[in-house]
């Protein structure tokens, strides 16, 4: 089964992860821009980070036959940092036109501050201006309140919910989001957020429409194989194959295809620089 991983911070992962992900059937991965654990002190650090995830990271992924896409943004935590917030917002328009940028994200709330509200609204406007979907992070603390504020701001700026993915949902937030029209993301984590058995239960209770799952693997304790592991449990619990495929492939792919920049043929026929073309290595060029 093909899997699209719609949320993984591969910047922080090693090549063994790519290798294992490819073996487990992951053919495409989306890397949302987020914070790096350590605060950045200048806008230039963001430019380098964006350059890395539209350049070097894409190259790394393709060496393993995985297509790499991203969403770019000023993340909610650093939206509070006046050393960088305005400058990053000014930097974004140039980057949002790049190939492989399938949305604006992660945006949303961390501590639910006025600054976070302002930059969430401003970046929804950017998404509209660049005709891109938005990927919204929900806070670890006071999550329900954060989801409510997110939905309120979307309504205030009149951003279409079918172009929003609200991520890191739990049993408490599903009832708030399920009727909004937004796509719902669930991050399967070793300890926090969501785990495999709870996830399968949510899908049984609420169905598979507009539901996507991800590993949200990053620099913390996390596991980039959480989607294939959840697929195993879905099968054990008797979920139909087409429902599983809907959650790990059709839903995330059709959501990000709303960017108009996701080429499905390309994901079906990955070509990496190290692979053979017409029987010759591209690097060495055609030989007599």
């Amino acid at each position: 089964m093909r899997i699209f991983e719609p949320h993984a911070h591969m910047f922080s992962r090693v090549t063994d992860d790519y290798e294992q992900m490819a073996l487990a059937g992951i053919v495409g991965v989306l890397e949302p821009a987020f914070w790096l654990g350590q605060p950045r002190t200048s806008v230039g650090s963001f430019a380098d980070y964006f350059d890395a995830i539209i350049g070097w990271e894409r190259f790394r992924a393709e060496q393993f036959g995985i297509r790499h896409y991203c969403t770019l943004s000023l993340n909610p935590k650093e939206a509070n940092d006046d050393r960088v917030n305005e400058g990053v917002l000014a930097l974004l328009p140039r980057y949002l036109e790049k190939d492989g940028v399938l949305g604006v994200g992660e945006i949303g709330f961390d501590d639910i501050t006025p600054r976070e509200e302002r930059y969430l609204a401003a970046q929804l406007e950017l998404a509209r201006a660049h005709d891109l979907p938005a990927l919204v992070h929900t806070p670890h603390r006071d999550k329900v309140r954060g989801v409510e504020r997110t939905l309120a701001i979307m309504r205030e700026v009149n951003f279409p919910p079918e172009r929003v993915l609200i991520d890191h949902n739990t049993e408490q937030t599903v009832p708030l989001v399920i009727d909004s029209g937004c796509t719902m993301g669930f991050s399967i984590y070793p300890d926090t957020k969501m785990d495999e058995p709870r996830m399968v239960e949510i899908l049984r209770q609420w169905g598979t429409d507009r539901m996507v799952i991800n590993s949200a693997a990053d620099w913390g304790k996390s596991d980039p194989l959480k989607i294939p592991k959840t697929v195993s449990l879905m099968r054990q619990k008797g979920m139909a194959e087409h429902d599983i495929e809907k959650v790990v492939w059709h839903n995330p792919v059709s959501f990000f295809a709303k960017s108009g920049r996701l080429d499905l043929r390309e994901m079906d026929t990955p070509v990496s620089p190290g692979q053979l073309f017409e029987g010759n290595s591209i690097l060495r060029g055609p030989r007599a």
């Binding site: 140039r94 060029g285 007599a288």
Partner: protein, 402 residues
């Protein structure tokens, strides 16, 4: 080029061909763009003793498409004509047919004719912008073509912003698949061609915009490099290969050479005359060594032979030693370059590689020994020739020994 200028070009070229080998006559045949046929474009002298006319068209079967000098060795002995391909890159755009009577030719004559025909193919080539348009027209569908033509027109009006917007969008607009061309771009004011063999569709589209730009395209390519993603950077570097005329954008090349992304490294160096023309000696040597190290054939660095020196040989052979100590294979294309400035012991090592199981190593070792010209290698070359069954290696061995 006007018709009159083309005919003058053919007349001069054919006269030279006839003089080179003492032929009775010669004719230029060019490929028909729409059908698998060669059409007579110009002729001089007699085709045969019976004064039979040159046919106006001839079949261009699969055997001759893509043929290089291969058929020529067979013609030497028994046929009355030589067919020399007109090669642009590795693409045969036509053939020069030489009526030879019963004369026997040397390998030197054949090499000479091949070079003359390459020069003629080059002289006939379109300007890079037109050549890229023709390549893309065959490969991308109509809406994408019209979008690109709009960008080219805006670039020709000097609209920088249109290029800045089109550059990142190129891949999703016209595709990222390999261009699949065997041809090469020719800038008539430069002596180095740019092969298209490893270009992708988006590379061709981006370079077309740069070529069309009514402004400082070199400075724009540099700017686009530093603002670009991986694919845009590759496109900017390939643009510099075609239109770079000053060292003003060499810092983009330096940045790419430092990269570990082989795709970017390749675009900076392989088939890229700009990098090879403007990198200082020490940086060029390190670039050659890194190419060998990452598995990029050093043959693909234009001018590597002209710029090779004793220090480069030392560096390459030290790399060879390091590989051999670790029990690893060595890229064969190192040998002909190292042979330009041989180090002690190289002849002996190359004689050993004449017996390598891989034909590429035997061919490279034979070529290298031919360059060194040390007679002590002759018994080993002859010994190998007696047992060699690879045609290409045989031809090289024969030439080295003649």
């Amino acid at each position: 080029m006007t018709d009159a200028a083309t005919h003058t070009l053919f007349d001069v070229a054919l006269k030279k061909v006839i003089d080179t080998v003492g032929a009775t006559g010669a004719a230029v045949y060019l490929g028909d763009p729409d059908r698998p046929l060669l059409r007579l474009a110009a002729a001089q002298g007699l085709r045969a003793a019976d004064d039979a006319p040159w046919p106006v068209e001839k079949a261009w079967g699969k055997r001759s498409a893509g043929a290089t000098a291969e058929p020529l060795t067979e013609v030497e002995n028994d046929c009355t004509t030589l067919s020399v391909p007109l090669l642009l890159g590795e693409d045969e755009v036509g053939t020069v047919v030489v009526a030879t009577g019963s004369r026997v030719f040397s390998g030197v004559d054949v090499d000479d004719l091949s070079l003359q025909c390459r020069a003629l193919a080059r002289a006939l080539a379109s300007e890079p912008l037109q050549a890229l348009r023709d390549e893309l027209a065959r490969r991308i569908p109509s809406p994408a073509r019209e979008w690109l033509e709009g960008g080219i027109a805006a670039a020709a009006r000097g609209e920088r912003d249109a290029i800045l917007l089109a550059f990142p969008a190129m891949g999703r607009r016209i595709g990222r698949e390999p261009l699949g061309s065997r041809s090469a771009l020719v800038s008539h004011d430069m002596d180095a061609d740019v092969p298209l063999r490893s270009w992708r569709l988006d590379d061709a589209g981006r370079v077309a915009l740069l070529c069309a730009f009514a402004g400082d395209a070199e400075a724009l390519a540099r700017e686009l490099y530093f603002a670009g993603d991986l694919r845009e950077r590759c496109g900017a570097l390939r643009g510099l290969a075609v239109l770079g005329r000053t060292p003003g954008a060499i810092d983009a090349v330096r940045d790419a050479i430092r990269s570990s992304a082989t795709e970017l490294f390749e675009a900076a160096l392989a088939d890229n005359p700009y990098a090879c023309r403007f990198l200082p000696d020490d940086e060029f040597r390190h670039a050659v060594l890194k190419a060998a190290f990452v598995g990029l054939s050093i043959e693909r660095l234009p001018g590597v032979e002209a710029r090779a020196d004793a220090e480069l040989s030392r560096m390459l052979l030290s790399y060879v030693t390091e590989r051999e100590v670790a029990g690893r294979s060595v890229p064969p294309d190192i040998w002909p370059v190292a042979a330009l400035h041989p180090t002690p012991g190289l002849v002996g090592k190359l004689c050993g590689y004449l017996e390598h199981p891989a034909a590429a190593h035997r061919a490279a070792a034979a070529t290298a020994l031919g360059r060194i010209g040390d007679r002590r290698a002759d018994p080993f070359l002859k010994d190998r020739l007696a047992r060699e069954d690879d045609r290409t290696v045989r031809r090289i061995l024969e030439r080295v020994l003649s």
